[in-house]
């Protein structure tokens, strides 16, 4: 649960940053509070989907890397596309997939990278401890 909350926070911050930069470059219209709330709802929905997938992997079976990556990415696309269309953020058309890709891909990659760096930190701290134990013997 803690990891999911971290990934929701990172994704939300990342998305807001991407949109703020795009707004500064006049690529997207000005960001409103309603827009921010929709973005928050989207990141929470994606977080819930991820948590459900985590639960499946923990209780049933661990998925191969590529399948895990694809399902998580699909969760992002489906949540953003349907919620965005439903709440009037974008038209319910295929072209919307094209619009959301420049936001989803960098945010998703960043979140995945953070997951890797968390695992790397764990590995480093365990290796240090193993090294210390080896020196004690």
């Amino acid at each position: 649960m803690k990891d999911s909350i971290t990934s929701i926070s990172v994704s939300f911050t990342g998305t807001i940053l991407v949109f703020s930069i795009c707004e500064q470059l006049n690529i997207v219209p000005p960001i409103t509070s309603g827009f921010v709330l929709i973005l928050f709802l989207m990141t929470v929905t994606i977080g819930v989907c991820n948590e459900l997938l985590n639960l499946y992997e923990k209780k049933i079976r661990e998925l191969p890397i590529l399948l895990d990556f694809t399902i998580r990415l699909l969760c992002c696309y489906v949540s953003v596309f349907f919620l965005g269309s439903l709440l009037g953020m974008m038209p319910f058309q295929w072209i919307s997939i094209w619009y959301i890709t420049p936001v989803i891909l960098p945010v998703f990659t960043t979140t995945y990278f953070i997951m890797l760096s968390t695992a790397k930190r764990s590995a480093d701290s365990i290796n240090k401890k193993l090294e210390r134990q080896k020196n004690q013997k």
Binding site: E57, E62, D68, M115, A119, S122, K129
Partner: protein, 144 residues
């Protein structure tokens, strides 16, 4: 640290008693080792059952509802289920690392992070096993 050994022919069961002030890291490791030495598990290979001391076991793995135990170069079938072993091996150096595997942390020599957040663990016999990302916290605890 004082080490007191009392040998007597009247002794029916070996007893280890530790008297200490606050438990430190080294002492808790020593206790884990003692717990490890006081258990053994039955392993079957080619129809022959043998008692395998826990300190020789690298990991337990469950495949299609059967549990196998791995020592340095051999594999035995184990009569216990993984959840039973998990209960039995609490407070020892063994830790659950995935849905199907319980690993002896004493046999780890190196850990590497994988792209999907899992950890790849290299063992003393150079075999590699994977720690699922859901069990990383428990695994890390064993090295505190």
């Amino acid at each position: 640290m004082k080490l007191l050994i009392e040998q007597s022919l009247d002794c029916k069961e070996t007893e280890i008693k530790i008297t200490c002030n606050l438990m430190d890291e080294r002492l808790s490791r020593l206790i884990e080792q003692i717990r490890l030495f006081s258990f053994s598990v039955t392993g079957t290979k080619d129809g022959v059952a043998s008692m395998i001391p826990l300190e020789q076991i690298f990991y337990f793995d469950s495949v299609e509802n059967k549990t196998y135990l791995y020592v340095e170069k051999d594999v035995y079938q184990c009569d216990k289920k993984l959840y039973e072993l998990e209960q039995l091996l609490k407070e020892t150096t063994f830790v659950r690392i995935s849905k199907s595997c319980i690993l002896n942390a004493e046999k780890v020599i190196e850990v590497k992070a994988q792209l999907n957040g899992r950890l790849e663990v290299k063992l003393l016999n150079l075999e590699k096993v994977l720690v699922s990302k859901h069990y990383i916290r428990e695994f890390k605890e064993k090295f505190k």
